[in-house]
Amino acid sequence: MSGTDKDTVDRILEATAVLADELGASGVRSRLVAERAGVGHGTLTYYFPTLRDLYEACLQRFYDEALKECLEHFACRKEGETSLQTVEGLLVRLYGLGRENRSIVQMRVYATFSEGEIRPIRRQNVGPALRVFAGLFPELSAAEARFAAHSLTHLLLRFITYPEHEIADLLGCNAEETAPKVLSHLRRTCGLLLRP
């Protein structure tokens, strides 16, 4: 992809994310995206023939960023930090990143079920992060470590996707109180899952 191509694609993905924020993922239309990105509709459909391609590209960009954060987090472990503390720190970081990109995370649910199963994660990209993760918990079997990582990721994404008022309603608290409660629940879950 040449420099200008990359620039155009970035503008399109940025516009998609902004529109999803404003209108919800179900409100994203290709004409609106083209307009917002300042490109012709033909240009948009040249790069992304269908809305589904657009969703997938947005998600992939988010996942790539999240994976980069994971590897960075693992690489910059503080001295004397336990494996569990490292992973808890990572959870907090990813929860923040996910909430900043909430409309994209929600897109995953919407896209999957309106467009059929989509596979935005390039599995080979996940490998390095998973290997470091498993290496942090040598007492767990490889399968168990991978299940734990998968379950934690899934919970993270789901808790980000649910509207705060619904969680608040279930718990019987205010919407603003849910984020810290969810985070402390995720940390507890993390500790319980990663113990052999």
């Binding site: 179900s26 399968a143 649910y162 619904e166 309603d169 969810v182 629940h185 879950t189 319980l192």
Partner: protein, 198 residues
């Protein structure tokens, strides 16, 4: 009475069809003819596919509620929380894993209504969350008990809707029987700890 019979026949037919076809493939006409009910009657009970699928889901939740209810009752009589939890986790896994089609369906209905919130509403979980707050709340705190029910059900349903290919990627086992075994071990550990350990 006849109304109820038709309703039940339609739900049963749809549950049967879901075992072999995806929810996109199933049409209302198809369900009506499988149930031996006219299409007009069907649409009077269920105006669209979402409504019919919701009713199918209800039947699975009803089954689970009965099982959970029995275990909670036994717990109230015996005071043996750990045994009750083991049974509840076991039954929850069975109900979810035996019908992966329903686990997948669960996410569809609300999105189908162009609603961006994921999956079914959390309302469906409320009875289970309330029971957990009462039963394990004293151990782990009421709010934590509710969040744990949410987490456990999200994870179980997610895995239930995974294909063997997905599971192979996660656990490195290609044999479906071995996959189920490793998955079962993970989910039992998950459920047991998250619902009972402070």
């Amino acid at each position: 009475m006849k109304r109820d019979q038709h309703r039940q026949a339609l739900v049963d037919a749809c549950l049967e069809l879901l075992q072999t076809q995806s929810c996109e493939e199933i049409s209302l006409r198809h369900v009506a003819s499988a149930a031996g009910v006219s299409l007009g009657r069907l649409t009077r009970r269920f105006p669209n596919k979402s409504a019919l699928f919701e009713a199918c889901l209800d039947s699975a939740y009803k089954k689970l509620s009965m099982l959970v209810g029995e275990h909670v009752l036994k717990f109230l009589q015996s005071g043996d929380l750990d045994t009750a939890l083991d049974h509840i986790i076991e039954d929850g896994l069975r109900v979810a894993l035996e019908r992966p089609d329903l686990a997948r369906l669960r996410v569809l209905t609300r999105v189908g209504a162009r609603d961006m919130t994921p999956a079914e509403t959390l309302e469906r979980l409320r009875p289970y969350a309330d029971v957990a707050a009462m039963v394990v709340g004293p151990r782990i705190g009421a709010e934590e008990a509710k969040l744990s029910v949410m987490s456990f059900s999200m994870v179980v349903l997610r895995y239930a809707s995974h294909s063997p290919d997905d599971l192979a990627f996660i656990c490195g086992e290609t044999d479906p029987v071995a996959q189920r075994e490793v998955l079962g071990r993970h989910l039992r550990k998950f459920g047991r700890r998250i619902l009972s350990e402070a």
